[in-house]
């Protein structure tokens, strides 16, 4: 993965962007508030496949993008 298609700036090199972490829902199965807090703070979904994450276009429009990326091959599927 070398490039990201920024919806505002077009195709830009990856070095312009800062990775902002995966975006993941806390599992519905977790009902205890302490467990939910723990999960939100510490746990990573870390899937081997398509994941949703945030990227910041630090050296461009300085907006946050939502990117869907396949981590098993490191290829961007969709940018919003």
């Amino acid at each position: 993965m070398l490039w990201l298609d920024c919806p505002r700036c077009g195709r830009r090199p990856l070095e312009e962007f800062t990775f902002g972490g995966e975006r993941r829902p806390t599992p519905d199965g977790l009902t205890d508030p302490a467990d939910r807090d723990f999960d939100e703070v510490w746990i990573f979904e870390n899937p081997d496949g398509v994941t949703t994450e945030r990227w910041f276009h630090a050296a461009g429009c300085r907006r946050w993008l939502t990117v869907r990326r396949d981590t098993s091959v490191d290829v961007v599927v969709e940018v919003r």
């Binding site: 995966e22 723990f38 990573f44 081997d48 490191d74």
Partner: protein, 403 residues
């Protein structure tokens, strides 16, 4: 060369797996094999199988930059890695296998006053906890490593460095082979090309593993998986504070003049040493975005080359010969996770990120003791998984060779 071959110990490969073992270790890398070795040698537990999906040391054990050091920033980590470093020094005697261990000393250079403060604190903390680290001035560094450019290419001036005297390297695949041979000669089954596709559960307990050739029952299952540990833990219903990031490394063609030390910069997040063959081995920080791809990237090569040639301009005259990547399990606090998971019969040794190779002896010894006695030793107890829940995280990112 003949000595190199003659001291390669023989691994006794089993014909086929048994249907049941006392201990099944998933992952035939350094940590899995050393745990099996110490179970057999220290605790007399030989009904042990090490299941490796590919060939032994095919994962991160054979992909790292083989640096052994203990110059960490927090007492728990310094004590643990110092113990591991000392075990490495004695490993050739213990196993009878030559691992090409060489004590070289590591310099961590600082380019800003802020970094100098960090390195001074590191040297003091190391000294207090038993690791040998001293500060050196730029001129002393130049004397010991004549190739270094103290101006850092005009951009990263060297203000000083911490010198970790006992820093060392060893040949990584020989470490794995030494442990595999020692364990297999005592009856441990080391099984290659045996992927674990799931865990067998009996109620809340884990009682075995699934393989393509059928299930194998186990008293205890230890996940020593590198890379795909999140999926392995999910089979047991365990969620881990671990992300998986690729880390790239490369070697150049031979540098005939010789480079006796290991040089690293935390601010540039890159490190360089010379292999026994004379190649210059260069690694840096892991990619910022998680990925399971082991494909080397041109962007990484370009950025590592740019940074390391500021410090060592002679590297510009060498060519990149070979490049590869490994996938590192980075724990949320940049320290390893060893021990119980809250699920009976299922233990983990994971979160080894970019600091796993140096910990192979002590990590294996600690996990073997935990499996044999049911209690973690004082050295590994701080690294339990429940530290995240109990607010005892061991944040030590600055010592992990990353930013």
């Amino acid at each position: 060369m003949s000595r190199y071959v003659e001291t390669l110990p023989e691994i006794r490969w089993p014909e086929a797996p048994k249907s049941s073992y006392d201990v099944v270790i998933v992952g035939g890398g350094g940590h899995g094999l050393s745990t099996a070795y110490y179970l057999a040698t220290r605790h007399g537990i030989t009904s042990v199988a090490v299941l490796e999906a590919d060939y032994i040391a095919s994962g991160n054990t054979g992909r790292n930059t083989t640096i052994i050091r203990a110059n960490y920033g927090i007492p728990e980590a310094i004590r643990f890695y110092q113990h591991s470093l000392e075990m490495y020094q004695a490993l050739e005697n213990e196993t009878g296998a030559e691992i090409l261990h060489q004590t070289k000393g590591i310099f961590w250079v600082a380019h800003t006053e802020m970094a100098m403060r960090t390195e001074r604190a590191r040297a003091l903390m190391n000294t207090a906890c038993g690791a040998k680290t001293v500060m050196v001035s730029p001129l002393e560094l130049k004397e010991l490593v004549p190739q270094v450019d103290l101006t850092g290419g005009g951009r990263y001036p060297v203000l000083g460095a911490s010198h970790h005297l006992e820093g060392a390297t060893a040949r990584h695949d020989r470490v794995a082979w030494a442990y595999a041979a020692g364990a297999s000669q005592r009856g441990v089954h080391v099984l290659e090309h045996t992927p674990v596709t799931g865990l067998v559960r009996d109620g809340d307990r884990v009682v075995g593993v699934e393989t393509p050739d059928g299930p194998i029952a186990a008293g205890v299952v230890l996940s020593a998986v590198g890379g795909r540990v999140t999926r392995m833990a999910a089979h047991a219903g365990v969620r881990l504070p671990v992300r998986t990031h690729p880390l790239h490394a490369f070697v150049t063609n031979d540098y005939a003049q010789g480079f006796g030390s290991i040089l690293a910069s935390t601010e540039l997040a890159c490190y360089v040493s010379q292999t026994e063959r004379g190649q210059m081995l260069i690694g840096a920080e892991f990619d910022s975005q998680p990925s399971y791809s082991r494909q080397s990237s041109f962007a990484a090569l370009r950025s590592y080359s740019y940074k390391i040639t500021r410090l060592l301009p002679f590297l510009r005259d060498l060519r990149i010969l070979r490049t590869w990547a490994g996938i590192c399990d980075i724990s949320a606090d940049y320290s390893p996770i060893m021990g119980a998971t809250g699920v009976d019969g299922f233990l983990v040794t994971t979160g080894w990120g970019t600091w796993g190779f140096k910990a192979i002896p002590a990590g294996g010894e600690g996990m073997a003791e935990l499996i044999a006695t049911g209690r973690p030793s004082a050295l590994i107890a701080p690294f339990s998984l429940d530290r995240f829940r109990n607010d005892h995280v061991l944040a030590d990112q600055g010592s992990a060779g990353t930013r």
